[in-house]
């Protein structure tokens, strides 16, 4: 006996009761009298279908009688048989071995695409060098502004803090030997050669590498990349070259700026340790040579290319759906950080052997 309003609020408490009642009557035919039903929406229909779909022997079938015609017409839309089959969830092999195998295959495939991408990007860059007129300089300039000029506030903040902390901590230690003035050398060398390029690269990876991946990834999801290719545009030339060139241009500039800001931050700290500005800067300029500056900047150029390249590659590799853009962005940042460390380490070895 059923009555009242069969909507979500009405059936929610009824449902488990009815299932239990049916189970209790498993051997006998059940007739549900639905004459009292005043209203029956989608949830109500689901409830009725659930009663009808129970697997029972033929002589113990469930029947619904007396349902008003307008609801019966809605119920008739559904093929009860179809809802007897449970949804089959696709089976995935979740064993550790299987996952390790999959991950290694993925890694190998990823390395292959990275190598292929380096080739493709290199070819596109070479083509750009041969005919610079065909590069979309307007786009490149806008990207350079976004990745470079708009990064100035965060670079200022981080570089300044880094300079201050480094200066303060080493000055406290050096004071015991009365050697505060050598803090200038420490800051100058470590910032110009190592820390400023590294910090700039990490900030660039977080800001622009992620942005490139998200932007190109969204274009992939919206089929814009497909549209580009069917117009005969090479997505690498169209999207990657501009970004790589922009990053190549701005990263060293940002690093020089970070050098200046962090050394200035150090100067402020040393001022409070009674080291005059003139002494400090004199020390910095005599010790930090052009070779230090240029090795730092050269590294930065490579960082810029690598970060922009991997950001674009991850963007182009985006699958479908909004979640895929998030995955690409994450992968872009992680890959960029890994590559920064690898490149930095390689440079340390090379510079050591070159005696730079």
């Amino acid at each position: 006996m059923l009555g009242g309003r069969l909507d979500a609020a009405g059936v929610a408490p009824l449902w488990p009761e009815a299932r239990a009642a049916l189970a209790a009557q498993s051997g006998r035919a059940v007739v549900v009298d639905a004459a009292g039903v005043e209203y029956c929406d989608g949830a109500g229909l689901a409830f009725l279908v659930d009663l009808l779909r129970q697997e029972r022997p033929a002589e113990a079938a469930v029947r619904i009688v007396g349902l008003a015609e307008r609801f019966d017409r809605l119920l008739a839309q559904f093929d009860v048989e179809q809802f007897r089959q449970p949804l089959v969830r696709p089976v995935v092999d979740d064993s550790l071995l299987h996952r390790i195998g999959l991950a290694s295959l993925e890694l190998a495939a990823d390395l292959k695409t990275q190598v292929a991408f380096i080739g493709e990007a290199g070819r596109a860059l070479a083509a750009a060098a041969r005919s610079p007129g065909r590069v979309r300089w307007g786009d490149a300039l806008a990207i350079a502004e976004e990745a470079g000029v708009n990064a100035l506030p965060i670079v200022t903040l981080v570089a300044f803090i880094l300079g201050v902390i480094l200066a303060y901590q080493s000055a406290v230690a050096m004071r015991q030997f009365g050697a505060e003035v050598y803090v200038a050398d420490l800051i100058g060398i470590s910032m110009v050669r190592e820390l400023a390029p590294l910090m700039t690269a990490i900030l660039l990876a977080g800001r622009s590498g992620a942005a490139f991946a998200a932007e190109i990834g969204t274009m992939r999801v919206n089929e814009e990349i497909d549209a580009l290719s069917t117009f005969g545009f090479d997505p690498v030339r169209f999207l990657v070259v501009t970004r790589v060139l922009a990053a190549l241009a701005v990263t060293p500039l940002l690093a020089v700026y970070a050098d200046v800001v962090s050394i200035a931050g150090g100067a402020l700290v040393l001022l409070s340790f009674q080291v005059p500005l003139a002494t400090y800067f004199n020390e910095v300029f005599t010790l930090v040579g052009m070779s230090d500056l240029f090795t730092g900047l050269f590294k930065c150029g490579v960082f810029g290319v690598v970060i922009a390249g991997i950001g674009c590659l991850r963007g182009l590799q985006t699958g479908s759906g909004a979640a895929a853009v998030g995955i690409s962005t994450t992968r872009a940042v992680v890959s960029a950080l890994v590559l920064i460390v690898v490149v930095d380490g390689s440079f340390a070895i090379v510079f050591y052997h070159l005696g730079l």
Binding site: D7, A8, A9, V11, A12, P13, W15, P16, Y39, D41, G42, A43, L45, A46, F47, V49, D50, R53, R70, F71, R73, L74, Q77, F78, D79, Q82, F83, L87, R89, P90, V221, G319, S320, G321, A322, A323, A324
Partner: protein, 249 residues
């Protein structure tokens, strides 16, 4: 208060201070299938998004079941929005969930149904729009028309009293689109659900529409209102008559 379920008064909508539609007013009665018609870019989707409280109109009031959605904020607004379901022009399915979960999400949040009941309800909604067998697919793995139909199924998830559909049959083949028309009629006639549908398909408009308003970009307003047959035969505006006669049955 009148018996109109939706009442739009002196509505002006637009973007950035420029109006698309000025001083528009109309009402939709409960259980009615109400169609909004007009050229591409005349502001149908914009009107719809104002009616469902996503955009704030430049002027005017919109009452849904007696409550003004323009003035409402926060929980009050969400309570009004619970009364209707919306299928957006571009589908707008949640890309990180399969179809069952897309429909199950509002059921889980707003009803006391248990997991098995929710799953069956969601499966039945999908079968209504002809998507039985695709329950576990991700939206990105569906064709454009299938995404559209899944979005309609999701709009119906909570069995709302009002359904807003933005071009439900655009991009569907004639047979699927006729099936959709039938579904709309069945729900309207048997459950008294009110439909506000943006549509261009004359065939479908003549089948489902109780009343139509026709918007025009240049006049920034409603150029015709009435039943489709009325507009075809008696509109004083020759252009409207011509439009409805073009391929009318």
């Amino acid at each position: 208060m009148s018996s109109d379920l939706i009442r739009v008064e002196n509505l002006t909508v637009g973007f950035g201070g420029k109006s698309l539609m000025k001083d528009v007013g109309f009402t939709v009665a409960a259980g009615e299938v109400f169609v909004i018609l007009g050229g591409s870019g005349c502001g149908k989707s914009t009107l719809l998004k104002n009616m469902i409280g996503l955009y704030r109109p430049m002027a005017g009031r919109i009452f849904i079941a007696g409550e003004d959605i323009v003035q409402a904020t926060g929980d009050g607004k969400r309570a009004i929005q619970r009364k209707f379901g919306v299928a957006y022009q571009a589908g707008a399915l949640f890309g990180s969930m399969n179809l069952i979960d897309n429909i199950g999400l509002p059921l889980e949040e707003y009803t006391g149904l248990d997991a098995a009941a929710r799953e069956l309800t969601a499966r039945m909604k999908l079968s209504l729009v002809g998507l039985a067998g695709f329950e576990q697919r991700m939206p990105a793995e569906l064709s454009g028309g299938m995404q559209k139909r899944a979005a309609i199924a999701r709009a119906m998830a909570l069995d709302p009293a009002i359904l807003f559909l933005d071009e439900p049959s655009a991009g569907l083949d004639p047979i699927t689109s006729a099936g959709l028309d039938e579904l709309i009629l069945r729900l309207a006639r048997n459950l008294g659900i009110t439909f506000v549908v943006v549509s261009h398909e004359l065939q479908s408009i003549f089948t489902i529409a109780d009343r139509v308003i026709m918007l025009d970009k240049r006049q920034q307003g409603i150029v015709a209102a009435g039943t489709p047959a009325d507009l075809r035969d008696n509109s004083p505006n020759p252009w409207v008559r011509q439009f409805f006669n073009r391929e009318a049955p």
